[in-house]
Subunit: 266 residues, 2 copies
């Protein structure tokens, strides 16, 4: 389903002394229910695009899918407001475990049980020797900002991208910052695009949940235009991930494993 | 528990040609488990402040608490990273219903089962005749932006406030935009501050879930500095809530029930 992500609407623009009608563009909100082998896993509020990537990425982030061979087929139906994405797998064992796991719901963007189930020490260290220069970080983020006409028009979506140091490979928008990241990983998984030695760029803040999604896909570098939390920084340090935040103008903050970020001319 | 919401950390600030260490301030991430009558309801990732307000507000937003009389006592324990908030109620009936309800997890900020359980038509229309002038909206938002030294220092929190047209009554910060709103409603509930005829201001985007929280507390006006989704606009229209978005500089967009917003001198 490739529904447009936005809708036109008549809105009153008001300042202190006057008001006028204009036609505004706002983001659509869609409800996607994910089923594995006909059992409902979750319902996500999301943008109505690339829902198979979203479903796959969500299951990856939750540790419910490991390899593409597990998927027999995916299918989807729905309307403008609601969809159901069905994923048929060879083994339903993982899901039973999930259904009985603790429900954890999180800070703005809260989702899933990852945090409760994947404590820092249970993630093997990421050894990737990939490096990126400060200029490459700035160029990636500049390109990233130009990739979202939906954000430009509505201000209502987050974006995420999988990159190599020299450019963006996969890019997605969603009203949820978690969904945008899941769509990226879902597409990579279904298209066999390797995520190791790559870089994730996100428009959203980096909490423990986002950091753990990235760790699960063995991505060694995460770049955010926004702020991280202290737990995300601690996890990144422990797992061996380079966490870059507040990329703005010509500068950035490097919170962990700064050896992967090279200064130009050094 | 009044833990500070932030932590100092040594960070590398990098531009194209140089790097230097500095001491940065970042937000803490905390894990709060809410229990009703010793049964676990949810674990929220949040800022470590005002957790009793957070727990109470969450239960209100989920429709699990109706009146203050239902609460026999609240208690809390924990450490720097994790807390448990226990709420003892007279009747545990509501919770059983909750535990068996569909799990709905949402776009960035996703939470709870509100959306699945409270469809537009099930919310009685809000009849409040409260009015606010465009200048009062601008003044509230200006004051709102100045209330958060944590945002100023870290960029890592959302804020929410309960207001009257002439000023802010209750204000909270949290790493989650949902949590900030829940803390506001939790404090109002525990202190018997009426939310009818009042105004909610939020720094976050307005999705259906946020709109429904506000509807549950019978608040007739929601003001956001950010974007709404189309479903939030539709719900606001149906329920009788004035939804104002993108309050920036000297202007704003009024999406629904614009008769409550008065132009100065008219």
């Amino acid at each position: 389903m490739k529904e447009p992500m936005t809708r036109k609407l008549s809105v009153l623009r008001v300042n202190r002394h006057e008001a006028s009608e204009f036609e505004d563009t706002i983001v659509k909100e869609h409800s996607a229910t994910i089923k594995i082998n006909d059992r409902e896993v979750v319902t996500l509020l999301c943008s109505p695009m690339d829902l198979e990537y979203l479903a796959t990425g969500f299951l990856l982030s939750e540790g419910l899918l490991k390899s593409r061979d597990e998927i027999i087929r995916t299918s989807m139906n729905g309307d403008d407001r609601k969809s159901t994405v069905r994923i048929e797998t060879k083994d339903s064992g993982n899901f039973s475990k999930y259904a009985s796991s603790r429900r954890l719901i999180a800070s703005s963007g809260g989702r899933g049980s990852s945090y409760g189930n994947a404590l820092p020490d249970s993630q093997p260290t990421i050894e990737s020797r990939v490096e990126i220069s400060a200029s490459e970080v700035l160029a990636l983020v500049e390109d990233f900002h130009q990739r979202s006409p939906v954000f430009e028009a509505t201000g209502g979506v987050h974006s995420a991208a999988l990159c190599r140091p020299d450019g963006i490979l996969v890019f997605h928008d969603d009203i949820g910052r978690h969904n945008a990241v899941d769509k990226v990983f879902g597409e990579c998984f279904l298209k066999d695009i390797s995520t190791t030695d790559s870089i994730i760029v996100t428009s959203g803040r980096v909490s423990s949940e986002i950091l753990l999604k990235v760790a699960r896909r063995r991505v060694p570098v995460i770049i955010s235009v926004a702020a991280p939390t202290d737990v995300a920084v601690q996890l990144a340090e422990n797992i061996g991930i380079t966490l870059v935040g507040f990329v703005r103008g010509n500068r950035m903050n490097v919170y962990t494993h700064d050896w992967r970020v090279k200064i130009d001319g050094k």
